[in-house]
């Protein structure tokens, strides 16, 4: 399908980013024609969805099964005090369509599971991992491999975060890097941590959609906010990975 045309509103709204090398009118049209699946509307999902919306990614599918809790508000910036008790996708949807009324936001209020993950991600160009558990991340990873679309992984703990860009056939998959899920926990976190990691994830997604620059392919970026250091870990496919080494 050819990328949609820009209108005068788009040309003004996105003027500053269309000046970036590799963007231009053609790049903005690519973003307008793109769909991102944002899995989770929490700490990571808030900045991810916000920045994809402001950048003009034409269609966002947002998914979450939770309701807004008061304890979410130190980091989940799409939700406000008067949203406590509401479904997160409803709260997120209402903000996102006001942040950018020219894009389409499709909410999915429910649990991402093995029965629906392939359908939910069908037709998407990129999967944004904003989950808080590895079980669902593994499902998203399988969907990324099945549809052959990139997945931008992010996770956080305290003042630390990890992020990488997973591209089927070119990088390890999530199960290559983390073959087993760590135990679940109520994790400590400062709101700026998902702010840093989520905006890096959104940057990576936009670069992937435009095909510009170098992404975090085959590199796991570790953000250590406590001592303000970034570290890079080389990552490689596991030749015996049960997820990506078998035909999907």
């Amino acid at each position: 399908m050819p990328a949609p045309e820009l209108n005068d509103y788009d040309r003004t709204r996105y003027d500053r980013q269309m000046r970036i090398r590799g963007f231009g009118e053609e790049g903005q049209r690519k973003l307008k024609g793109a769909t991102a699946f944002v899995a989770g509307c929490g700490g990571l999902g808030s900045p991810i969805a916000t920045y994809l919306a402001t950048a003009g990614v034409g269609r966002l599918v947002i998914a979450d099964m939770d309701v807004v809790d008061l304890s979410n508000l130190n980091r989940q910036i799409l939700h406000w005090d008067d949203n406590v008790g509401e479904d997160k996708v409803k709260s997120a949807y209402e903000k996102l369509v006001r942040i950018n009324p020219s894009i389409t936001v499709e909410p999915f209020n429910g649990c991402i599971d093995g029965n629906n993950v392939l359908e939910l991600t069908k037709g998407c160009d990129v999967i944004m991992d904003a989950m808080d558990n590895f079980e669902t991340r593994y499902l998203l990873n399988r969907a990324s491999l099945y549809h052959q679309i990139p997945m931008i992984y992010g996770s956080i703990w305290g003042l630390e975060g990890r992020v990488t860009t997973l591209v089927p056939g070119r990088t390890p998959c999530l199960e290559c890097i983390f073959p087993k899920a760590p135990p679940k926990e109520t994790f400590p976190v400062l709101g700026t941590t998902p702010g840093v990691i989520g905006t890096i994830q959104a940057t990576e997604a936009i670069k992937v959609l435009l095909g510009i620059g170098s992404t975090l392919e085959n590199r796991l970026l570790v953000y250590d906010g406590e001592y303000m250091e970034f570290h890079e870990l080389k990552i490689a496919p596991n030749p015996e990975c049960p997820a990506c080494r078998v035909k999907q």
Partner: protein, 92 residues
């Protein structure tokens, strides 16, 4: 013959973020981790599984390279090496 050790995330609740371990150069990753686990209670449970292998979601790096892609626990350390231990972080 010292090796520098750096740890991340929750491991910092159990031991210093960064320390020099004398006499670790020339020995294996296994020997280094055993010494650390003997010194810091709770560390063994965070790094090793019941069979004594590094847990599959814990990354141990020698000079930025994952020891899983080297000789794993048998990877030999040299004087001045930096060993980094990254536990998993799952939050979102």
């Amino acid at each position: 013959m010292s090796v520098k050790v750096k740890v991340f995330a929750g491991l910092r609740d159990l031991m210093p973020r960064e320390l020099e371990v004398d006499g670790a150069g020339g020995a294996s990753v296994s020997a280094l981790l055993d010494r650390l686990c003997a010194r810091y209670p709770g560390l063994r449970e965070q790094i090793f599984d019941g069979a004594g292998a590094i847990k599959p979601y814990v990354n141990v790096l020698k000079n930025g390279r994952n020891v899983a892609f080297l000789e794993d626990l048998m990877t030999v350390l040299e004087d001045g090496d930096i060993v980094a231990i990254f536990p998993p972080v799952a939050g979102g």
